[in-house]
């Protein structure tokens, strides 16, 4: 199976790889997937006082498409409010990266990751 150009670009130059302080009140962490399934994503977001995502980091264990999906997502969520970020659909990732049907689950996982990170942040606030 050949990979699309955009997948390769994100895979070879992943954006925003790293770790944020998971204990900080303005950081939300979403960890989704399972090693047994061959992919685990950890997505972290940091919001400013206005509720805008000012920083996003990820680490992903998985195939090239999973890495590319999470890398792309960190780019997209920066500068968005939590509401805006929660509106991102996996299909947008599929379209942008031109993922084949067998790799759609990677984009679903990325959508789950950002939702989990937002939930984590909201739980901390409440």
């Amino acid at each position: 199976m050949a990979y699309g150009k955009k997948v390769l670009d994100h895979y070879e130059n992943p954006r925003n790889v790293g770790v944020l302080d998971k204990d900080a009140v303005n950081v939300g962490t979403g960890m989704v997937g399972a090693p047994a399934c061959g992919d685990v994503m950890r997505l972290q977001i940091q919001v400013n006082d206005d509720g805008v995502i000012e920083e996003a980091k990820f680490k992903t264990y998985g195939c090239g498409s999973a890495i590319a999906s999470s890398s792309l997502l960190t780019e997209w969520v920066k500068g968005k409010t939590l509401d805006e970020a929660s509106q991102i659909k996996n299909t947008e990732i599929v379209d942008e990266l031109e993922l084949p049907p067998v790799k759609i689950h990677c984009s679903v996982l990325a959508e789950d990751a950002i939702k989990a990170a937002i939930t984590d942040l909201k739980n901390k606030a409440s």
């Binding site: 990979y3 895979y11 992943p14 790889v17 770790v19 960890m31 989704v32 997937g33 399972a34 090693p35 047994a36 399934c37 061959g38 992919d39 685990v40 994503m41 950890r42 680490k59 992903t60 264990y61 998985g62 195939c63 090239g64 999973a66 890495i67 067998v102 689950h105 679903v108 996982l109 789950d112």
Partner: protein, 404 residues
């Protein structure tokens, strides 16, 4: 585009130029293009002569009589013919078959089909090193067991089964013994004159012959009978009809003859390369060799780089053509059933890479592969949340994962 270095010889091999050259002589008007079944003229006789010579070459490599060799389209067909052929011919004697969970799909799916037709199949678990548990096999044999089918060398992990011991048990219990030898023939010694084996499948393309060509050894002493699966003109003593593909057959014969002449030297050379490859990885953290390292074919190294997913590693080392047990390389999203049957965790199975070296692999190829893999594994571990957790001393089994 620079073509990647080929390190997937267990998957297939290029045709040896000596083989290709010979094959080309059996295609055109100027060559011997005749039908080996044409008994009445020169063209047929020439083709028949070539087919007979090739049959002897194949038989010679494995210590068989040429009359025990049946041409097929490949090891898949040979496995089908052997297993279905025995089951259909001897079903009145019993309907129980024993095989191993790590067999090739050509054996497993054939057994599944027989189950649908009323046969009963026992799929044994291998031991953790990939080898058959002899005692367990013995205790599985029943009064109505007619056939045992075990591969000589496993395609994924390269482990070698003890055919002598297994075959003796089969003979004692009057169970036919079929062996899929696609991955072993031409790489390790096989002497069917002394081995207690009734049927053995061969493929040409795993040892520098053409694809689409194989053979089945059918023992004459003791006599083994098969029900044909392909009906027609009664070729191959009625066991496999269809006009013989002279050029393919000649190619297989030549490949087997070359293997006979060069096998010893070649296996020593590939063993040195495999060892070199393994040495290049052995000091890395969290690296596991899958399958027994000693009872193993010389060219195979199946190795897991823990916390790195196999497909992304293959993508990262795209300069080297290898294969992976990762789910992502298959449509099913299941990791390798062979590695799972060894009791490997899913994540180790997902992290596995099979390197297989062969006739045209050089030391430089191996050194380049080592350097590339080391660099990329490090990079991908930097990207891996599991590696972070491992480094933090977190037991991954203690984590509640959300399976999806």
């Amino acid at each position: 585009m620079l073509t990647p270095t080929y390190m997937d010889y267990s998957s297939t091999t290029p045709v040896d130029p000596r083989v290709a050259k010979k094959m080309a002589k059996y295609l055109t008007m100027e060559g011997d293009f005749g039908n080996a079944a044409s008994r009445s003229h020169y063209y047929g006789w020439q083709a028949e002569k070539a087919v007979d010579e090739a049959r002897s070459q194949v038989a010679d490599l494995v210590g068989a009589d040429p009359r025990e060799i049946v041409w097929t389209s490949g090891a898949t067909e040979s496995n089908n013919l052997a297993i279905k052929g025995i089951a259909n011919f001897y079903h009145k004697r019993g309907k129980h078959i024993i095989t191993l969970k790590t067999e090739h799909k050509a054996v497993l799916d054939t057994c599944r089909q027989l189950e649908r037709e009323g046969f009963e199949v026992t799929y044994l678990d291998p031991m953790a090193n990939g080898l058959l548990d002899i005692e367990e096999f013995k205790s599985t044999i029943r009064e109505d067991t007619i056939l045992a089918s075990f591969m000589h060398v496993n395609n994924e992990i390269g482990v070698i089964q003890d055919l002598q011991t297994i075959g003796e048990i089969c003979r004692e219990n009057k169970v036919f013994f079929h062996v899929d030898a696609a991955q072993s023939v031409g790489k390790i010694e096989i002497d069917l004159a002394s081995l207690p084996v009734d049927l053995m499948s061969f493929s040409a393309h795993k040892i520098y012959g053409p694809k689409g060509m194989g053979a089945l050894y059918v023992s004459r002493k003791p006599r083994v009978r098969l029900e044909a699966q392909m009906h027609g003109g009664g070729h191959e003593r009625g066991m496999r009809s269809g006009t013989l593909a002279t050029h393919q057959i000649v190619g297989m014969g030549e490949a087997f003859a070359i293997a006979k002449a060069e096998m010893k030297e070649e296996s020593e050379r590939t063993l040195r390369l495999r060892q070199r490859l393994y040495d290049g990885f052995s000091d890395m953290e969290e690296v596991v060799v899958n399958g027994d390292l000693d009872q193993r074919i010389s060219g195979n190294l199946n190795i897991s780089f823990n916390y790195v997913e196999g497909e992304s590693l293959m993508m990262a080392i795209s300069g080297v053509a290898v294969s992976s047990g990762s789910a992502c390389t298959s449509a099913s999203l299941e990791p390798s059933y062979v590695l799972r049957a060894l009791g490997l965790s899913d994540e180790l199975a997902h992290s596995s890479i099979r390197f297989s070296v062969g006739r045209y692999t050089t030391e430089k190829d191996v050194d380049d592969a080592i350097a590339l893999v080391r660099e990329k594994v490090e990079k991908l571990r930097e990207l891996s949340p599991l590696w972070d957790m491992y480094k933090d001393g977190i037991d991954l089994n203690s984590v509640q994962w959300a399976a999806h």
